[in-house]
Amino acid sequence: MQVYLPIAEIPVSVLLILAMGAAVGFISGLFGIGGGFLMTPLLIFLGIPPAIAVGTQQAQIAASSTTSALAAWRRDSIDLKLAAFLLGGGFVGTMLGVLFFALMRRAGQLELVIVVSYVSLFSVVGGLMLKESVSEFWRSRRGAARPVRRAGDHPAYLGLPFRMRFPRSKLYASVIPIVGLAMFIGFAGAVLGIGGGFILVPALLYLFRVPPAIVIGTSQFQILWTTLAATVLHAAINDAVDVVLALVLIVGGVFGAQFGARAGRNLRAELFRFLLALLVLAVGLRFAIELVLRPQEPFSLQILEIQP
């Protein structure tokens, strides 16, 4: 069944998009991430203009993180104080990201920016995650315990000025790295059409040592608000949100995520992190191959403007 997208100005198969939404939703539910980093490239591959894929995907992430943020709210696992600082940075980053996006689109370099960012971001994050999960695996094989953290033993960036206590997160740290991280994720999210959960979660876990339960809830809460902001901004500045596409993606994703979340409960934590690392690396690699292989068609078109 084909349906015409009023903003993207092309028809797509509803069933295909629903199935893709459900599959990506399943993975996102499984790993507790937004899944934008899988969906946006898939949409571009289907022929949706990159700008509209990125803008519209933000709405889908907003919907799926609404569900998880509500669940976290009921479990009382959101650190509102930490979330407030993350949100402040996230909004500024998102705003800058949307403006940068508009600038690159006008300069005709958007495609290159997206591909290069995917390659670098995903290889680095995926590589770090893989390293972490493999070394964890070996430690548990050898039976050695994780090195115990002692009081007063923390990285230098937590000791920058403006230190503040976050009792729910058992964190006493400078707000500078927190706001900086949130800004970076908001920026990358708005440019790449991702929520940034897969960066925020490991960063809070490993860099700030926030307890895992709080990490998931707080990051979902943060992603919900930044993606909502990105949706509105992409619509207002870039005309890049297609409501019909968003609706189909949301319906598919929301249901897929529920089944994914159920399947995820039977997954062991180490295996879970290992698989997520592989997934992120695979996406990075996929884009790297595109950059390295001799293209079948060396020429490409970019439509700057169509006068109706």
Binding site: L70, L301, I303
Partner: protein, 254 residues
Amino acid sequence: MRIALALLAGSLAAAPAQAETLIASLSTSRVAITSNYTGASIVVFGAIERDAQTISRAGPYDIVVMVRGPRASIVVRQKEPMGPIWLNREQQRFVDIPYYVAALSSRAVEQVATDQLRTRLKIGLRGVVYSPEVSVFRGGEADGPFREALLRLQKQERLWIESARGVTFLTSSLFRSPVQIPAIAPPGNYEVDVMLFSDNVMLSRSQTNFELVKTGFEQQVAAVAREWSILYGLVVAAVALLFGWIASVIFRRD
């Protein structure tokens, strides 16, 4: 009555004696994009009118139908290896070039008109892509690959169509030509240019147009997204929140 007859006789006498008249019409002048739109097909009909004074031609008549869609600015980029990676390096910009072109004729356009005439009238896909107005000719052959790439890529998407059997004569003076519009062709104004040739000479020409327009829901959504973009963004955000909330109600486990 006598005056009217005299006027009629006068106008007949004043008309050029040798020219054929070309009459063309479309099966529709407005193609509507609805939610299940998957492309369209329209038909160009036409007739060649001759009268007693029209001189007889040695060769057969040839009809060329050029359909040109909304004008676009397009950049064609060429990837070249730079170290280990392939980057877009050289580029050529095309302006005011129709994003959709159908070049339909009753015979191969090369046989219908000379090279110069084809370039001047922008007949055939090569006539469009090698037109001097659409892009800068660089020295030598530098722009050639870009023009060929544009031609190739647009043909692949079926946005540019060329057919030497695209116009069929029903009788010696009646013809028809079906035009396929793919779903990705943009909304806007489509010019239809019908030309009559014989012996490499254009005898007559008739121009008309049709519009490809979004209607109903599609048109309203596009209008709202353009005119009230912030409101539109807020509505999409609200829809996302609503669906997320509904899912959490449906799947609530406690």
